[in-house]
């Protein structure tokens, strides 16, 4: 091999390395494009929507009838459904998820933990439409035995099932956070004569609080964004209520309802779902930003 061809081969090799790096970089950029795409589409269609419906009416109207002749666009109606069902879900998922996390991290024998963790993961992997079926045809009839006046569609059973679905997300992140608390903190506590429970509640939980906060925030955004359970089990009737015993539509269920129908591209109904989606997106964004500051505020480093 002459020096000339060796040099050429080297040059080709460098060129190939550069090209590969550029290709990999582009693949990594896809995530940025996705975000830009989401914001672009939501804002673009929403702008058209808000040209026809003033934003004050969107925020203050107490009726939501976008597909009727007498159209009203009060997002509060859908927000009430979203907030109520999320509150029910979180009232289940946060206490149970936290107790499970403390139990698995501080109390459970090694064997049980090894079995329980994958099992919880499976629980989180069940398709949400299956949970919707379960809420409508198993949990609601069960609740109706206790409380016969409960309507067939209601926020309560959807919220309960949603809460159980969220438990694995909350417990798994909380447990990781608690396991990351250094052993010497626990040993210090035990040396002072504290019991396991005292150590768990007074030492481990405060030390892991920033991790717990992330887990809760993730739980909230899961609950707010959950769609199929609510579309199936809570009914799709817009209803301004904070009573979980009533049926109501959420932002997500409304989007599904419109998508199931046959709305022409570019009609006001079509744009409404983007405005609703933008509201949802802003809501989860607010949660994430709040979570970020919460984490910063409670971060402990050892």
């Amino acid at each position: 091999m002459t020096p000339g061809t060796r040099l050429a081969a080297r040059r080709a090799r460098i060129l190939r390395e550069r090209a590969i790096e550029a290709a990999l970089f582009l693949a990594a950029l896809v995530s940025v494009f996705t975000t830009v795409g989401i914001v672009y589409i939501l804002v673009k269609e929403s702008v058209v929507f808000f040209e026809q419906v003033p934003i004050t009416r969107f925020l203050t109207d107490t009726q939501w009838t976008p597909l009727f002749d007498d159209a009203h666009f009060g997002i509060v109606v859908l927000l009430s459904g979203t907030l109520t069902s999320s509150a029910v879900a979180l009232a289940i998922a946060i206490p149970l998820g936290t107790v499970i996390a403390i139990y698995l991290s501080e109390f459970a024998p090694f064997r049980l933990r090894e079995v329980a963790k994958p099992f919880l993961e499976l629980l989180g992997g069940v398709p949400t439409i299956v949970y919707g079926y379960f809420a409508l045809l198993f949990v609601t009839p069960l609740l109706q035995r206790i409380y016969p006046e409960l309507p067939g569609f209601n926020l309560l059973s959807a919220g309960i099932v949603m809460g159980i679905m969220i438990i694995p997300y909350v417990s798994s992140i909380s447990e990781d956070a608690m396991r990351a608390v250094p052993m010497h903190l626990r040993e210090g506590s035990y040396a002072m004569g504290a019991t396991r429970l005292q150590t768990a509640l007074r030492v481990v939980v405060p030390a892991a609080f920033s991790g717990l906060a992330s887990a809760y925030i993730l739980g909230i955004s899961r609950a707010v964004g959950e769609t199929m359970i609510l579309a199936v089990a809570a009914g799709m009737q817009p209803n301004l209520t904070f009573n979980p015993l009533e049926p109501a539509a959420t932002i997500t269920a409304f989007i599904v309802q419109v998508a199931l129908g046959d709305l022409p591209h570019g009609s006001i109904g079509y744009q409404t779902i983007f405005a609703a989606g933008l509201t949802l997106m802003l809501f989860t964004l607010a949660c994430n930003i709040g979570g970020h500051f919460l984490r910063k505020r409670f971060r402990e480093s050892y």
């Binding site: 107790v99 629980l123 045809l137 019991t195 429970l197």
Partner: protein
Amino acid sequence: MDQSRDLEAIRRLIAARKRYDALFGVLGLIALMIGVLTFVALFADMAWNGMGRLDWDFFTHYPSRRPAQAGILSAWVGSTLVMLTTAFFAVPLGVAAGIYLEEYARKNWITDLIEINITNLAGVPSIVYGLLALGLFVYQFGFGQSILSAGLTLALLILPVVIVATREAIRSIPQSIREGSYALGATQWQTVRYHILPYSSAGILTGIIIGMARAIGETAPIITIGALTFIAFLPPAPLKAEPPFVSFEWLFSPFTVMPIQMFNWTSRPEAAFQVNAAAAGFVLVLMTLAMNGVAIWLRYRLRRKIKW
């Protein structure tokens, strides 16, 4: 006298504290059991209700107005084709992005931006991906309500899962492996191609399976792009008798998938259709369970076998 009373009080305090400990142990087990029992109830309920419909005909018949003759043929074929499309886009993109971020990326603002983006995208509700796809793939790009649109949507949805799994798998490879490769004169790509990728492949595969298990159960984004709920035909076959033998027409075909078929049956008032929903749900849960089970098993084996 006083001392013995103090001792008594302390003993009682300790006993009470120990009781609380035991009580919390029971509480934790109960909380865990609530999760487990829900899952068992869900599974048993669907198996009980749906078992009667689960026969060969159920898999080889189209949906129908008559519940006893309805089947999931178009649904499982649609799900399979959508999953193929999703994997085709999500796997190379996700693995490449993971490799870039672990092996190539310099510490600068672009890298930070990409990382923040991936974290945030993992928290975006899946229905928002559906809206993105409706605006972008269906109308802007003109793909219509097709298998291609659905596959791309789900690919974007599971991309963060694949990227995170790839990064974790790559991160567990010790630096000495890379140094050994470089010392023998390998370039960066050669190191990745012949060392990093093979050693991390099991971990990456775990992530891909978990991502696909999530995609196969996703309903909301696919409904949002406007997939039909009643499809009584199959997409055009990918293989043809005449040249060029392969055809990609199926990518642009209308379709339905398993979760949408189940949703359709669940939302009908007739009990007979809800039996069908139970049967379809049972099949769906079995599929996701099998996929998740394989992933968990792979990870378990991985943890035991690899000792650097």
